[in-house]
């Protein structure tokens, strides 16, 4: 367990732009992807806004055969994968297929397919269910489609860790490279906006009427977003051999479970504290070496307060800059921490901390150094990506500028 793992390419589908560059430019400029929902009727739901991807056309990114057999979630993932592979300068025909894996996160996967199928069944009876469409359902299809697109023949896995799925997937992908089970892993997460999920969050009282204001005293909840963030991870050896540009090193990560409530974080943040400390320690670092935290920052009352407590507990008196890009792209559920991982890597590259927009009134309950409204710049050796999820999940990981992290510890007993 001593191999180093690097990010060598990234692809993005988001409400603020397609592709790594458009995404990052929008974040740095503080642009919001929030607008009235167009893909379904929100009448009588009491909320009508989301951060929807409106300029994505599957045919721009997928082959005709792919477009026929995939749902929107997989279409996002395939598109972002192609962008990431191009960004990495990776010639997929040169990959060793059995040493190439695909590990992706999502919350609901091809939820549009199951919604259509069930709608047909509930209204029209079983005759109305389209047999061809049935084969297109299955959360496991997401990485299968991507593996086919890049020619991967190793592990093909879905990690549905709800809103922490991106960190789960990227972390496990890095494990597989470190353990020598793969040389290249396509990883990240994809998620789509869905009416039932939207309504569910409305019923949980978690959706804001207009905008998403993480850490603000007047925060009123989240807006749902959608998109995909895909990263190409490579072993150092593989990347160097082909002369790839090393964007960032993947550090360690930590997992914990609150074992407290299915949707709410533990009030003391204990699982998040454990996971964050584990992420820092397993990177061979101490808390004072973390320069910036990309927050989970959902703008729900409980999350932001608990996350602030966790910051105090882990970093003590040192006020580490923290920001939530959910203020701009909404909460993309399973894809959230993958898109945030892309932003983390950009921060390590540029030294820019993306802003938390709509931050107006500080909340004494969230006494943290929010990057308010305007991009800031600062030290960018080590960036931490925090995520929490339904199920009481806590998953935290670190990214670092190449050359910063100490040699990986032999994690084996």
């Amino acid at each position: 367990m001593t191999r180093r793992v690097f990010v060598t390419g990234m692809g993005v589908v988001s409400s603020v732009g397609l592709g790594r560059q458009a995404f990052w430019t929008a974040l740095v400029e503080g642009r919001s992807g929030a607008r009235p929902v167009t893909s379904f009727d929100t009448t009588e739901l009491g909320r009508d806004r989301a951060c929807e991807v409106t300029d994505f056309r599957a045919r721009d990114h997928l082959t005709t055969a792919e477009a026929r057999r995939v749902g929107r979630c997989s279409a996002f993932a395939i598109a972002a994968t192609r962008m990431a592979v191009t960004d990495a300068g990776l010639d997929t025909s040169q990959l060793d297929p059995a040493r190439t894996s695909v590990i992706l996160g999502t919350t609901m996967g091809e939820v549009d397919v199951i919604s259509e199928l069930e709608s047909a069944w509930l209204h029209g009876g079983e005759q109305a269910v389209d047999r061809a469409k049935l084969a297109r359902y299955g959360t496991t299809l997401l990485p299968i489609h991507v593996a086919r697109a890049v020619g991967a023949r190793g592990l093909v896995q879905t990690l549905p860790a709800a809103c922490a799925a991106g960190n789960y997937a990227i972390g496990f992908a890095s494990d597989q490279i470190r353990a020598g089970r793969a040389d290249v892993v396509i990883t990240g997460a994809s998620e789509i906006l869905d009416k039932v999920q939207f309504a569910g969050f409305v019923r949980l009282g978690a959706i804001a009427p207009e905008r998403i204001q993480p850490f603000d005293k007047q925060r009123k909840g989240l807006l749902i977003g959608e998109g995909a963030g895909i990263l190409v991870l490579e072993s150092e050896e593989h990347a160097r051999k082909r002369g790839a540009t090393l964007l960032a090193e993947v550090g360690g990560y930590g997992l914990a479970c609150d074992a407290h409530h299915i949707t709410r974080p533990h009030p003391t943040g204990k699982g998040n504290i454990t996971a964050m400390r584990a992420a820092i320690a397993s990177s061979g670092l101490t808390p004072d070496q973390v320069d910036f935290v990309n927050a989970h920052g959902t703008a729900t009352a409980a999350n932001d307060q608990v996350e602030s407590l966790v910051m105090h507990e882990v970093f003590g008196a040192r006020r580490v800059p923290i920001s939530s890009i959910k203020s701009m792209i909404g909460h993309c559920m399973g894809a959230a921490s993958a898109l945030e991982a892309v932003a983390c890597v950009e921060t390590t590259l540029t030294g820019l901390y993306p802003p938390t927009i709509h931050y107006e009134e500080p909340d004494p309950e969230c006494d943290v150094a929010v990057v308010a409204n305007k991009v800031q710049s600062g030290k960018h050796d080590v960036v931490l990506n925090n995520s929490l999820a339904f199920g009481g999940y806590d998953a935290v990981m670190t990214f670092a500028r190449p050359g910063v992290l100490p040699p990986p510890p032999g994690a084996d007993e």
């Binding site: 009588e44 082959t63 055969a65 059995a98 996967g109 199951i114 919604s115 199928l117 069930e118 709608s119 509930l122 209204h123 079983e126 269910v129 047999r131 049935l134 084969a135 299955g138 959360t139 496991t140 299809l141 299968i144 593996a147 086919r148 991967a152 023949r153 190793g154 592990l155 093909v156 896995q157 879905t158 990690l159 549905p160 860790a161 709800a162 494990d175 089970r181 009416k195 039932v196 309504a199 569910g200 409305v202 019923r203 949980l204 930590g254 997992l255 914990a256 479970c257 609150d258 074992a259 299915i262 949707t263 204990k270 699982g271 584990a278 199920g391 009481g392 994690a411 084996d412 007993e413």
Partner: protein
């Protein structure tokens, strides 16, 4: 991989609940299987499904194990998984009378596989959304639509604060969680993990697999590995084994039931870009060889194969071919799905559970092929996905 100790089993299945009951049912496997399939099922309530042949977990009552408080918002899949977890923790001696023994709660977690574990809840919510209005969704049931909710409830119920992971790899998940567990244990993220899978029967699941031609109809023949077979029968259940390092197990004086010694996986897509469903003999061969290499075992050292064959010709033929390329045609092979049906994400977990019983000396269920040459010391469990993916684990008698 570095061998890992299996120190406990929790199982909720058509072959009974708990390790002892499950082992007893396996002693007379054919009889138990006949019983599992013969009784009228209760899970599919629409009269349309009256003739469906299913192996359901009959009379499953979670309150017997969990009491009757706090279960209201748990769906059937979650209840099964929570009961399996509770039984596994107790069987492994990680908990006694509800309290943790030698390891703290932060060092114990769960890695559970499922393919369609939240379908019941998704359907329940969709029913309200489609037939009434989305604004009437029950917010306390809504979180169950998230497929990791079941494992999340296990942690809440049993107080497990270590890593909580759900894996969705279709039929292969029950094997892939062995890699998950091996990884997290080797990286020091936990000291013990509950590892396995769960799946439950419900109407949309049955309807989908019937329409796809996977489920055999009426009196059509269903028999794994038989060319005349016209499909599989569906089953359900949850199985979790407690897994820890051999050193840790020895330190705390745990009884080691068996060792996990190897894992392998492979994916081979169909040649045609338009095709989706695919069974690959090449993937079977590659995954089996990878697992053998991982375990440092020769193919001749495998005494028993618990195969994934289920009665679906396309899949069974590819698997038989792939296995034959590694083992020849005479390796003793048992088709566990012939006993309790196809259980998707739970299949390999139930296969591992049965392996524990057979490694302990029970005579393996009727062999599909080959013959046993000696007492069973090593078992290879295969899984086969519908899209060309295959994963394999190897379980060995405790040394």
């Amino acid at each position: 991989m570095k061998p890992l100790a299996i120190t406990g089993l929790g199982v909720v299945s058509p072959f009974g609940v708990g390790r002892a009951e499950f082992a007893r049912a396996l002693e007379n496997a054919e009889e138990s299987s006949a019983r599992a399939f013969s009784a009228a099922h209760t899970v599919l309530t629409d009269a349309r499904f009256a003739n469906a042949r299913l192996a359901e977990v009959r009379d499953f009552d979670a309150t017997v194990f969990l009491g009757d408080k706090g279960l209201r918002n748990l769906d059937r899949a979650t209840k099964m998984l929570v009961v399996a977890a509770k039984l596994a923790l107790e069987d492994a001696g990680l908990k006694k009378d509800g309290a943790f023994t030698s390891l703290p709660s932060e060092r114990i977690g769960i890695c559970a596989a499922t393919a369609y574990g939240s379908l019941d809840s998704i359907t329940e919510i969709n029913r309200v959304a489609e037939l009434e209005h989305p604004r009437y969704l029950n917010p306390s049931r809504f979180p169950n639509t998230v497929i990791n909710a079941a494992a999340g409830y296990v942690s809440i119920w049993e107080g497990l604060e270590g890593p909580n992971v759900t894996v969705v790899d279709g039929n292969c998940g029950g094997a892939d969680v062995v890699l998950t567990a091996e990884t997290h244990l080797a990286c020091g993220r936990a000291d013990a993990l509950l590892v396995g899978g769960f799946e439950v029967l419900n109407e949309p699941l049955y309807l989908a697999f019937e329409k796809l031609g996977i489920v055999s109809q009426g009196n059509e023949m269903s028999s794994p590995g038989v060319v005349a077979s016209r499909g599989t029968h569906l089953g359900e259940g949850a199985a979790l084994v407690a897994v820890e390092s051999l050193r840790r197990a020895r330190e705390r004086g745990a009884h080691v039931l068996a060792e996990l010694v190897g894992y392998g996986t492979a994916f081979e897509p169909p040649v045609s870009a338009a095709q989706l469903v695919h069974a690959s003999d090449e993937a079977v061969e590659r995954a089996v060889r990878a697992a053998l290499l991982d375990a440092s075992l020769a193919s001749s050292e495998i005494d028993l194969v618990v195969c994934a064959e289920s009665g679906v010709n396309l899949m069974d033929l590819a698997e038989e071919e792939g296995l034959a390329r590694v083992f020849g045609s005479d390796v003793a092979t048992v088709a566990a799905k012939g006993l309790w049906g196809e259980t998707f994400g739970a299949a390999a977990a139930l296969g591992m559970a049965a392996s524990l019983v057979w490694l302990a000396g029970a005579k393996p269920a009727p062999l599909l092929r080959g013959e046993l040459r000696r007492p069973v010391r090593t078992v290879l469990v295969t899984t086969m996905g519908y899209y060309g993916n295959v994963s394999v684990v190897i379980v060995k008698r405790a040394s």
